[in-house]
Symmetry: C2
Subunit: 369 residues, 2 copies
C-alpha cells in the first residue's frame, strides 16, 4: 500500500471475479459466461473502415447504439444509458444518486460487486437476509425505506421475484430509487421494463455479457425515465466522457439486432439446463430451482462442496464455490454451457462422487482395523 | 434533473468534448486526434478467434497488455496500470489518492477534464495561473504544498516544462502526489518517466489517443512505483474490474509493438507542424511555440478568433476555440493533420482572411459614406 492511499481503503475487500487459470484448457463454467460465440453479425460489422476510424474519438453520446437498443426494447434513446459493462452502468448510478452515509439495501446473498462498490464510496450497505430457501424477502425490501439494488434473477442463487413484487418495492418507496439488475432475465425471469414508464424511481440494468454471449465486450445499459438518464449522462461527461469505444459501439449495434440468433442460443441453454438439473437430481443433489444460465445446488451430503469444486478443477472443469458464507458453503454454482460440455461435467461428477465414496469406505475400514 | 440527483450536482459544468457534427464531411482538427490510421498490425490482430472469445470475460489484470507496454518503456508490468482511456486512468488516480476537500493544483489553462472530475467528487481544485506567455509557473507549483496534476506538454497551449522542472515539483512535495499527463509528449516534449524509479510520488500518464492514432480505442495507462499501481488495481477491482475489453487488449498489444510505424507518423506530424507554423507566421499570426500535435496561435489582430473558427467550419474544417477564458479568447487551436489537409487549411485561411479584410474595407467605406 502506498503512503498516498486514501484512509479507509486499507481494509477494502475487492471484488473477486471467477478465476481464469491458463495452466491447461478448461471447460469454464465459473463466471456465468456463455459457451456460445457472439452473433456472426459482429464479425461482419468489424470492417477495416471502422478499424481505421479508431484514429478519431467515438461518439460520446453513443447515439446509434442507444437507438438500436431502444428499438429492440421499445424505448426512445433518451431513456437508454450505455456503459463499459453493466458494472460501469451500476457505478454511474451509484455515483449519480447515492449519498455517502445513506443506506442502500440489497439481498445479503447476491452479486458481490454492489457491496464492493458501496464500500469504496463509503455508502452504507444494508444487507437484507434472503429467506431459508434463498428467495428474496420482498416484504423486507418494501418496508426498508431506503434505496434498493437487487439482481433479479439473483446470483448466485438463481431465484427470481415477479414483476408484481418489484412493483410493490418501487411503489412503496417513491422517494427512493430501485435498481433492478436483470443480467440473467432472458433465461426465464420476468422483466420489470414495463414499470419504467409507470414510475420515475426504477432503473432496469441489462448486460451483453450473458444472453448476448459477449462478456469480453463490456457492454451494459440501463433503461429509466429521461431525467434519470440525463443526470447519468452529465456525471459521465465529468468522469469518463468517452466510456464506450468505437468497436464496442459497432459490435453492440450488430449484436442487439440479431435477436433470432440469441433466441436460439437461449433456447438451447434452457434445454441444456433441464438436462443438467435432471442429472443433478438423479445423482441425489438438492437443487435450487433456477431461471438463469446457471445451477446452484447443494453438494454437501453427497460430497463436500469445496471438494467437488477442487476435484472438478483437477478434471479440467471450473465451477464456483462460495465458501465464505455459512449458508452457501455447502453449495456449488455451475454455469450452463453447451450440451456436450454438460455431459462431460455429469460424467466427471459421477466419477468424482464414486471415487469419493470409495475413499470414504476405505478410510472407514482403515479406522476400524 | 431527476428528484434523485445528488445535491451539489445541479450546477455541475460537464466536460465539453470537441464537436463531432455529421451534416457534411469535415477535416477534423478540433480534438487533437491523429489523421493517420492506427498501425496495420491491429487489423491482423483482430482474428475471428479473438472475436469469438468475446463470449468470455477478458483478463481483468490485463497482464499481456501491461507486459507489452512495460517492455516498450522499460518497466515491469507491476509498474503499469491500464485503463479505458487516459481519462479513466486519471479517474482511478483521483479516486484512489485524492481526498474530498483537500486541494489539487493545476495550471489554470489546461485540459478541462481535471476540473470537471475534481468538481464531481468534491475535490478542491486550485488553479495556478499560467504566465503571460502561457508557460507553466513552475515555482508556484513547487511551492503549492498540495497534490499536483499537470498536462506536460500542456493543452491547449502546447507549452512544455523540462523533466528537471518536473523533478523540482516532485522533490519538494514528497508527501504529495504529482501526476504528469504526457498525452502529447511524443511530439517533442521531455518525458518524466526517468523520475518514476527515483521518487515514490510521481505518476506518469500516457494515452494511445494521440501519437498511437487510436483515440477511438480508449486505451490509456500510467507508470508509477508498484505500491501506487497496487492501490489503483484494488480500487479498480471494487469499481470496474473488467475495465478494458478483450478487443482493446488485443489491439493495444499489437499497436504498442509497432514502434517503427508510429515513429514515422510522428516524424511526418512534426514536419507538417513546421510547414503549418511557417505558413501561420507568413500570414502574420503570432504563434505559441509548440511541441505537440497542435498549434495554438493568436488570430485576433488579423481576424477575430471566433469568426475564424466559424468560417473555417463553413469551409468544412473543424478547429477549436476557447472563448470562455479572457486570455484564450483571441486564440485558435488547430490540430496538425496530414500535409494535404494542412495545405487545404492554409488555402482556406488565406481566402477567409482576404474576404474578411474586404468586408472591413467595404464596411468602413459604407460607414464613411
Amino acid at each position: 500500500m502506498s503512503y498516498f492511499f486514501l484512509d479507509g481503503y486499507e481494509s477494502m475487500e475487492t471484488y473477486n471475479p471467477g478465476e481464469q487459470p491458463h495452466d491447461r484448457p478448461y471447460i469454464k463454467l465459473n463466471a456465468n459466461e456463455s459457451s456460445y460465440p457472439p452473433s456472426p453479425a459482429i464479425l461482419e460489422a468489424l470492417t477495416s473502415v471502422q478499424i481505421n476510424s479508431l484514429a478519431y474519438y467515438e461518439d460520446p453520446y453513443n447515439i446509434k447504439l442507444r437507438e438500436a437498443i431502444g428499438e429492440i426494447y421499445g424505448f426512445p434513446k433518451e431513456q437508454i444509458f450505455v456503459g463499459n459493462g453493466a458494472d460501469e452502468v451500476i457505478a454511474f448510478i451509484m455515483m449519480s444518486f447515492f449519498r455517502e452515509g445513506f443506506p442502500i439495501a440489497s439481498n445479503d446473498i447476491t452479486y458481490d460487486f454492489y457491496r464492493t462498490y458501496a464500500q469504496t464510496f463509503h455508502l452504507k450497505y444494508r444487507k437484507i437476509p434472503v429467506k431459508a430457501d434463498f428467495s428474496t424477502d420482498v416484504d423486507a425490501l418494501v418496508e426498508c425505506g431506503c434505496d434498493v439494488i437487487i439482481a433479479n434473477p439473483n446470483n448466485p442463487t438463481g431465484k427470481a421475484i415477479s414483476c408484481a413484487d418489484v412493483e410493490r418495492i418501487v411503489k412503496k418507496n417513491e422517494k427512493r430509487l430501485v435498481i433492478v439488475d436483470e443480467a440473467y432475465v432472458d433465461f426465464g425471469g420476468e422483466t420489470a421494463l414495463s414499470l419504467v414508464d409507470k414510475y420515475p424511481n426504477i432503473i432496469v440494468v441489462r448486460t451483453y455479457s450473458k444472453s448476448r454471449n459477449m462478456a469480453g465486450a463490456r457492454i451494459g445499459f440501463c433503461v429509466a425515465n429521461q431525467d434519470i438518464i440525463d443526470d447519468m449522462r452529465n456525471v459521465k461527461f465529468c468522469v469518463s466522457p468517452f466510456n464506450l469505444n468505437t468497436l464496442s459501439q459497432v459490435i453492440g449495434i450488430a449484436a442487439i439486432k440479431d435477436t433470432k440468433y440469441y433466441d436460439e442460443c437461449i433456447k438451447e441453454v434452457i434445454e441444456t439446463r433441464s438436462y443438467f438439473e435432471s442429472e443433478l437430481l438423479r445423482m441425489g443433489f438438492e437443487i435450487v430451482p433456477t431461471v438463469t444460465n446457471f445451477c446452484f445446488f447443494k453438494a454437501s451430503g453427497i460430497i463436500p462442496a469445496e471438494l467437488l469444486t477442487e476435484r472438478l478443477k483437477e478434471h479440467g472443469i471450473l465451477v464456483r464455490y462460495f465458501g465464505f458464507e455459512p449458508r452457501t458453503k455447502d453449495y456449488v454454482r455451475v454455469t450452463i454451457g453447451r450440451r456436450a460440455e454438460m455431459e462431460i461435467v455429469v460424467r466427471n461428477m459421477k466419477a468424482i462422487i464414486e471415487e469419493y465414496q470409495a475413499e470414504k469406505v476405505s478410510n472407514a475400514r482403515r479406522a476400524a482395523s
